[in-house]
Amino acid sequence: MSEAFRPTDLHELLTVMRELTEGELDARVSTHTPTGSSDPLHPMRVMLNALAQQLQDAVLRCAQHEATVRKLEQAQRQLLCTAKLASLGELAAGVAHELNQPLQIVGLSVDEVRDALERADHATATEYLQTIEDQVTRGAGVVDRLLALSRHDGESTRTQTSLDKVITGTVSIWGAPLAALGIDLSTDLAIGLGDVVGDSQELLQVITNLVANARDALEGQPTRRICLRTTAELSHACIEVIDTGSGIAPDDLPRVFDPFFTTKGPGKGPGKDPGKGPGEWPGRGTGLGLSVSHGIVRRHGGTIEVFSELNHGTRVRITLPFAEAP
């Protein structure tokens, strides 16, 4: 009984190993030992075949896993597409409503002008021409806000911007109108907060719009407070607009960034104008403010999140990346 192994046995093992390395995963060595003989390489053969089997199983599982991931990705893409289409449908219905209101008024006013001219009643004709002009301006405003949704990066001017200035600008715009409504507007600013790279006008638009939303949520509330707070995080500046208003229902929360979604009831044009008469609550929203803000913040490489509790208030949190140190 010889304990020595033959070079051909070693060669067989090496061949199978090479085949396995080259991807022939069903390659195996023979484990048969003829009766009466002994094979010192037998345990190695068995071990090699077991390893080959494990390798083959693992590769198969990996392929199955990849197929599942692909299917999942496909399903996810379909879902996104459906969500986009639903959003588009909502957008279209919103646009239709917002434009049909002024068009309707223009149409009926034209008839009034025609009647007035037939009676040579120039005063009434002029009055309705003014109505028509107002409604054309209103329609153009809807189109402007709609276009703001699709504005591209290139059109905004980015410079090193101080968020303190954005907040100060917001306070100078909103301070007096809010005070007239009995709303306390306060600031809590981080000392030495670094600049961000951005379009200061666009950022001002975002913050003033958030304050307008906060004001709307405070109508009829016993405690009326809005706080603008900035904090520094590792690589981001954080701005929060916090109010003690009516809050947003949990069902509405996922939709607040959808274009034309509003809980204020659409139809009367924007209530974002702080220049209204003192102590006057605004008309209702267009449902575009938050979606436009979302677009602006995203284009700045930032994030915007809304946290809200019904009857307790809302906190909108924006993060913007710090500008690189000069």
Binding site: A93, Q101, L103, G265, G267
Partner: protein
């Protein structure tokens, strides 16, 4: 004939009321669904026609029409929509729907159709 015009857009409500008055109707304007409902509930029998916008805050036009119809199933109603979507509500039949933007002639047709249907 006594008509109630319901629209949360004041300019439009005024224009609709002006047109109906020109046609010889006695017109009362309500600026939202709840105000209209209060007006109706005060004297349900006096109204001959209700012209209402659908999309309004609080009580919308469809809910208003449903409430009114539950009380008076003979009352003609014209429902106006700004986005061409009509509710499929059996209780509203035979309400007449009118899509914005419409001209005076179409409003007049809708008013006549609703009075003929009810």
């Amino acid at each position: 004939m006594r008509v109630m015009v319901v629209d949360d857009e004041p300019v439009l409500a005024t224009l609709l009321a002006r047109f109906a008055r020109g046609g010889g109707f006695e017109v009362t304007v309500a600026h939202n669904g709840l105000e209209a409902w209060e007006l109706f509930r005060g004297e349900p029998e006096v109204w001959d026609l209700i012209i209402t916008d659908i999309r309004m805050p609080g009580l919308d036009g469809v809910s208003l029409a449903e409430r009114v119809r539950a009380d008076r199933d003979d009352l003609p109603v014209v429902l106006i929509s700004g986005h061409g979507q009509w509710p499929d509500v059996e209780a509203l039949s035979p309400a007449v729907f009118l899509a914005k933007p419409f001209r005076r002639a179409q409003l007049l047709e809708a008013m006549e159709a609703s009075t003929a249907a009810a």
